[in-house]
């Protein structure tokens, strides 16, 4: 991929239709520069872990081991992996309810995430949050939020606190494209730009808010016009290509740390599963053909193919990485399954903190 292609104005790069229109050559190419073979294997491992973990989630849900709402991230893993591979441990991450993949990519223990989904005491939120409310203070993972768009102003607040303390961390905030129609998103973008807050807003545009396509929900599908509306830098990128995600993040991170400015990034992606475990992957709102077409650009395949073509990955090695991911997912399952439910007295803890300053 040429430098020039990377720096095209956003409008030129914006295209309608499926992310699969946005071919590997156009967006990420086979440019593996800036990454070492070791890092590329880590990226592949991270994405495969999310995939295998969530396949087990679907299984556990069917068995009734996971309850409530459970939104799978399958198909979007290049985004979580790409973003988390670029930010620092002392940065902050906040996200919506489709949060398992991001939690794993951030480095939260798969055991703690699975135990949370199983509603066990050993879960990362003590079994009180569940699928939609993954929190982990150790990795600055600020949740898992269930009200569409509600956490976007909270991300601005984290940015405000960083500025208040004159820190050089940043906050990454993930949400779906359906959140851009809600007031909280607009209020947060305005404040982040007005106050020069180091926040990276990431729209994961998987083109469907539950069962409503973007064309049926959004008068102007150009995500970046929203950045422009708030005097903010914006970029649109192929979210199926982990390298494209990383390159784009590098620019946003530089902007946040050096210029203390926010960025809005549209990651074009596609969800391979239903909105949640309660609905089918295709049906009334999207066709099987469309789904299958998009699954050809599985982010794991995109990365795998690049590594395979460059000769650095054999099928045997791929299988080894995959087996390892499966083993971790199995271990997480076993751990969660063997963990105790929260004791009943925990019902009343954590409603209030006993402390004061």
């Amino acid at each position: 991929m040429s430098t020039e292609a990377k720096r095209q104005p956003a409008q030129k790069r914006k295209e309608k239709g499926t992310p699969s229109d946005n071919g590997a050559d156009a967006a990420g190419g086979n440019d593996l520069t800036g990454t070492t073979p070791e890092l590329r294997r880590e990226l592949l491992h991270s994405m495969l872990l999310q995939r295998r973990f969530e396949e087990r989630c679907a299984e556990a849900y069917a068995l009734g081991k996971i309850g409530g709402f459970c939104h799978l991230y399958i198909g979007q893993e290049a985004i979580s992996t790409g973003v988390m591979s670029m930010i620092r441990p002392d940065d902050y991450v906040i996200t919506a309810y489709r949060d398992h993949g991001q939690a794993l990519a951030r480095g939260i223990s798969p055991r703690a995430v699975m135990a949370e989904l199983f509603g066990r005491e050993t879960g990362c939120s003590g079994g009180k949050g569940g699928s939609m409310h993954i929190f982990d203070a150790k990795t600055n993972f600020l949740g898992g939020h269930g009200i569409v768009g509600g956490h976007v102003p909270i991300a601005a607040g984290v940015g405000f606190a960083i500025k208040y303390r004159r820190g050089n961390q940043l906050c990454v905030c993930f949400f779906g494209e359906a959140a851009v129609n809600i007031g909280a998103f607009h209020e947060a973008l305005n404040l982040a730009s007005l106050w020069d807050l180091p926040v990276i807003f990431i729209v994961e545009n998987n083109r469907y808010g539950m069962g409503t396509s973007i064309s049926r929900s959004t008068a102007n599908e150009d995500m970046l016009i929203r950045a422009k509306g708030y005097r903010m830098e914006g970029e649109s990128v192929d979210g199926q290509d982990v390298f494209a995600v990383r390159e784009c993040l590098a620019r946003a991170i530089e902007r946040a740390r050096k210029e203390k400015r926010p960025t809005l990034i549209e990651m074009k992606t596609y969800r391979f599963m239903g909105h949640s475990m309660s609905d089918a992957a295709s049906g009334t709102y999207r066709t099987k053909d469309e789904l299958e077409e998009n699954m050809k650009r599985d982010p794991i395949l995109v990365l795998h193919n690049k590594m395979y073509e460059s000769g650095e990955l054999t099928e045997g090695e791929m299988r080894k990485i995959d087996d390892e991911a499966k083993a971790i997912a199995q271990d997480a399952w076993d751990f969660a399954d063997a963990s105790p439910e929260p004791p009943l007295e925990k019902l009343y803890t954590d409603v209030y903190s006993d402390s004061s300053s």
Partner: protein
């Protein structure tokens, strides 16, 4: 003891806590350059600068969320709503985020913050600007809700609220800012969740909070001339609520009137009456009566507004009724 206004008592609390802890900051519409829509933050911008006294656009949902994010990572925000009527735009952040963050995160993320501003009816502000919101927030586990009536309580409770590691909804009486009272100098703390007996008597209890506590005290003073001695329990905090103080009073007087600014259905008074029937069933000599706003939106016309609001006359009528004096 110095006599100061309710407004100045709040300003004192803000100033002292801003001086005490540099993670405390104040944010809201017109709080800085304009010195506050109700002048509670007067002079604070000059003393603490624009990073700690922060003017916001008119974006209640947005800046409530900003406060929550800042609190999650260790600051102690004070979010001012110009009035609580406007805070409805932010109620998702207050209820769905601030109130539940500690619980949903299994105890990992505390929420040391205050949402404050004027509450309750004022004069001829009509339907959208004259409302008492305490029962809405008192319903929510995870929040604390303060409703100070006097300058001393305003100062002492606000200091407690700012130091508390939980989200505190702090409802100041819009009509109370100019009222005066004695306030202890320097460090003066009123603990959250503790009621105060504002008048002592053994004929009838009046359980109340916020602006209505002033009405109750006046009624108590007036009726004392007729030999009727009221026990006025000012709850001061409606979550947590001081059930022991309520029970102590009603067990003494055997009669109670519950006086509040809000509407009848699911109002604070419903909860107080529930506590009374649970704790004092065998002590009661008469049904408990409630005095509250009429079940209508606030009208504009002076005469209609007067008729809609709870007042001393309505309170006295209820007191006489539970004492079988009418």
């Amino acid at each position: 003891m110095a006599v100061v206004t309710y407004r100045d008592a709040l300003t004192q609390a803000l100033r002292e806590e801003l001086q005490r802890d540099d993670t405390v900051f104040l944010m809201g519409e017109e709080v800085a350059q304009y010195n506050g829509a109700y002048k509670v933050s007067k002079g604070l911008l000059d003393e603490f600068g624009p990073m700690r006294i922060v003017d916001t656009p008119i974006t209640e949902l947005g800046f409530a969320g900003v406060g929550i994010g800042a609190a999650m990572v260790g600051l102690r925000p004070i979010v001012e709503f110009m009035t609580w009527n406007f805070a409805l735009l932010a109620i998702d952040e207050v209820v769905n985020a601030a109130a539940k963050m500690l619980y949903m995160s299994g105890g990992q993320y505390k929420m040391p913050m205050v949402f404050r501003g004027p509450n309750g009816s004022a004069l001829q502000l009509a339907g959208q600007h004259s409302q008492a919101w305490e029962s809405w927030y008192a319903h929510i586990p995870g929040l604390k809700v303060c409703t100070p009536a006097t300058p001393a309580d305003a100062k002492g409770l606000l200091k407690s609220a700012i130091r508390d590691d939980n989200p505190v909804v702090f409802l100041e009486g819009e009509m109370l800012y100019n009222t005066k009272g004695e306030v202890p100098e320097g460090e003066h703390i009123v603990p959250i969740g503790v009621a105060e007996l504002k008048r002592e008597g053994d004929h009838c209890s009046v359980i109340t909070h916020g602006k209505m506590a002033l009405v109750a005290m006046k009624v108590a003073d007036d009726l004392a001339k007729d030999g009727i001695n009221l026990d006025v329990v000012d709850l001061r905090t409606v979550r947590p609520i001081d059930v022991e103080a309520i029970a102590r009073s009603v067990q003494k007087t055997n009669r109670a009137v519950v006086l509040e600014e809000g509407w009848e259905i699911c109002g604070m008074g419903s909860q107080v009456v529930d506590f009374i029937q649970r704790e004092c069933f065998d002590d009661l000599d008469a049904p408990v009566l409630r005095v509250h706003q009429e079940d209508v939106p606030m009208p504009y016309a002076k005469n209609l507004e007067r008729a809609a609001k709870p007042d001393a006359g309505k309170a006295i009528a209820a007191i006489k009724k539970v004492m079988y004096l009418d």
